[in-house]
Amino acid sequence: MSTFVYMTRCDGCGHCVDICPSDIMHIDPKIRRAVNIEPNFCWECYSCVKACPQNAIDARGYADFAPMGHKVRVLREEEKGTISWRITFRNGTEKNFVSPITTKPWGKHIHKVADAEEPDQAAHESQLLFNEPDYLKIGDNREAELINEDGLPSRAKDTFKQGVYY
């Protein structure tokens, strides 16, 4: 089910409005609190829930597999590189889950392509993308027939595996 806002916690900061991919989190002009204006178009992507500094947004699970009265809380920490979920059942049972969201300091290891060596004319004419063929990582241990002269993987027709492919 769609998200909803605890009116007493929301301070109308608008972080949810800014992030919602569906553009359905709006600030009510009268009460100045966030409100999901179109629950039918909510995907429960939790973008607003994670973005809310006041933890004022929640999503109710579907009644057929999540009986009413439960709570789902989430804390996303970029500096720690984790996302933590706390599920509270209506009988009080709590379950906590922590998952990594990144293995490296946030954003530090993303290529700045503008600083990479400029591709020459031959590269422009080739079929290779940025960092190819290196990043295909088939470099040295590749079997000779697995690679084309253009540097991309390929396989000779007579070496196809037999059978149906699913």
């Binding site: 300091p105 295909l136 993987p153 390929s154």
Partner: protein
Amino acid sequence: MADHKTVYEDCDILIVGGGMAGTGATFESRYWGRDMNIVCVEKANIDRSGAVAQGLYAINCYMGTRWNENQPEDHVRYARNDLMGMVREDLALDMARHVDSCVHMFEEWGLPLMKNKEGRYQREGKWQIMIHGESYKPIVAEAAKKSASKIYNRVMITHLLKDESKDNRCGGAVGFNMRTGDFHVFRAKATIICAGGASHIFKPRAVGEGMGRTWYAPWSNGSCYALPICSRCKNDSNGKQNCFM
């Protein structure tokens, strides 16, 4: 309309849509076009936009060419079989040839990929590998932010422009700012359409207790199909919704 401004932007490469494809295209464009004005236009916020807004627990397509798990040709045969022959095989092959290097790059950027005992990526199917993908989209968005000359969030492209001098050539796009209502005109030398596919086509959207329970993003309104059709582009609009799916 009297209150609304018209904002012009001249760009070399215009990327319509800032989902996975759009942010990726922005990144790659910068590598090949160093001094170009590369502009990405997104109707939401690129940090959480498109069908990977909430994250993704798997990468649906990874060949594993380096371990000879699958080869690109295997993927073409799978796709052809799966879609009963209705497939552009050259596109399926191209996607398969490049997807591995892309995934390896994501790993370097910090995307947590699960590994099995042999140190290979953990599979949960012939093509799929498992990841901790809560921040899949923000990570790729970060790459786009580092690459783009300018990113327009909350601007919805509604129509493509045709080139004045050359017939059958796209000259940019127009759209509206979702917040201010400003009219945006993007004049571009090249336009890459990375807009979304379409949900809610065959069935009305779920209502009642099933509200929002849909496999595909409810905000994907089919502009990837509509934009080229509306402008009667004779271009081969292909590769739609192909990425990793």
